[in-house]
């Protein structure tokens, strides 16, 4: 990545810091702002309309289990094609059943990102038009990318335990 993309315009970061009282941190030249749940929609509105961050390139989450405050971080990555900038936003969420406002009103493509976050992490987005599972089957129980979700590991069949496992295997019929 070229140097120009890595460098965030300090004025934008400073403005948001002043307006929302957000804290910032920098990692390998990329700046991220830490915002509260209720600030994310107005912040993105400002970034899109006033600072021409036209693109929401990514919305994802991190699970910090067994920590509970915050348990999750929702991560947004905004891109300004006009000014050639990248800006990260992070929203810490507390507890096992977090709820936060949807970003679909600002960036329409947040729709499927948020569906995926609901599917994989169980983060509920209030005001989302169609919050269904998008990756896992409709009737799936649980949210697989949570750290306390079991991996579903099946015991490996070797010669010494072949028969024992073979009895338990659910073979399909015609």
């Amino acid at each position: 990545m070229s140097e120009s993309i890595m460098t965030n315009a300090p004025s934008i970061v400073q403005t948001l810091r002043d307006r929302f009282g957000a804290s910032t941190y920098e990692f390998r030249g990329e700046t991220s702002l830490i915002l509260k749940t209720e600030q994310i929609v107005p912040a993105c509105q400002i970034l899109r309309d006033e600072y021409s961050f036209e693109l929401l390139t990514e919305q994802t989450a991190v699970d910090y289990w067994p920590e509970l405050a915050p348990r999750f971080h929702v991560v947004y990555r905004l891109r300004s094609l006009k000014n050639n900038l990248i800006l990260g936003l992070r929203v810490p969420l507390e507890g096992n059943f977090p709820v936060m406002p949807t970003l679909t009103g600002v960036y329409a493509n947040a729709n499927w990102f948020e569906r995926e976050l609901w599917d994989m992490f169980g983060i509920r987005f209030e005001g989302h038009p169609d919050l269904r599972r998008v990756v896992m089957p409709e009737d799936w129980v649980g949210h697989p990318l949570r750290k306390d979700y079991p991996l579903g590991y099946e015991e490996v069949q070797f010669t010494f335990n072949f028969d024992e496992i073979d009895v338990r295997k659910p073979y399909a019929q015609e």
């Binding site: 896992m136 089957p137 991996l151 590991y153 099946e154 490996v156 295997k169 659910p170 399909a172 015609e174």
Partner: protein, 160 residues
């Protein structure tokens, strides 16, 4: 040249019905187009000029389950795909066979986790397992020839 010269002008062959039906089934077994992952690439290679599966009467891959006899499950089957796989299998007309191609379809392979079916034999009855990750076209062809051997040994009373 072949059998017709040895027969002379008679034009009649006597055979067991069982043998002739099994022979025709093995030599025109139409596989279903069902590539799921990287194994599908090897399956395509097996179909293409170098390996040429049409030598075994399989030049046509059918996109419709209703026209196919053989399902080659080429790749890992996710839990979301499993009902679709079963439905396609149910739509195939009898007689039908299944080849689990590759480690993922046979036993889950490296994907030992919640999202992947640990062996497609949980969903459909499998006739031949082909090992490999992915198996080379030779291995797939070996699997198909093995299946042909199986089909040739099928008995008339078992169909009825």
């Amino acid at each position: 040249m072949g059998i017709e010269q040895k027969l002379g002008n008679m034009g009649v062959v006597t055979l067991k019905l069982e043998d002739v039906v099994n022979w025709s089934r093995t030599n025109a077994m139409w596989p279903m187009l069902f590539g799921l992952a990287c194994c599908a690439i090897e399956m395509m290679a097996a179909q293409a000029a170098n390996y040429d599966m049409s030598r075994f009467g399989m030049e046509l891959m059918r996109a419709s389950p209703r026209q196919s006899d053989l399902m080659i499950v080429a790749g890992r089957v996710s839990r979301k795909m499993a009902p679709v796989l079963r439905r396609l299998y149910d739509q195939m007309p009898d007689p039908k066979w299944v080849i689990a191609m590759g480690d993922c379809a046979s036993c889950g392979g490296v994907f030992n986790n919640y999202a992947i079916v640990q062996g497609v034999d949980e969903v459909v009855p499998v006739d031949v397992y082909v090992a490999g990750c992915p198996p080379r076209p030779e291995a797939l062809i070996h699997g198909i020839v093995t299946l042909h051997e199986k089909v040739k040994g099928e008995k008339l009373k078992e169909w009825a």
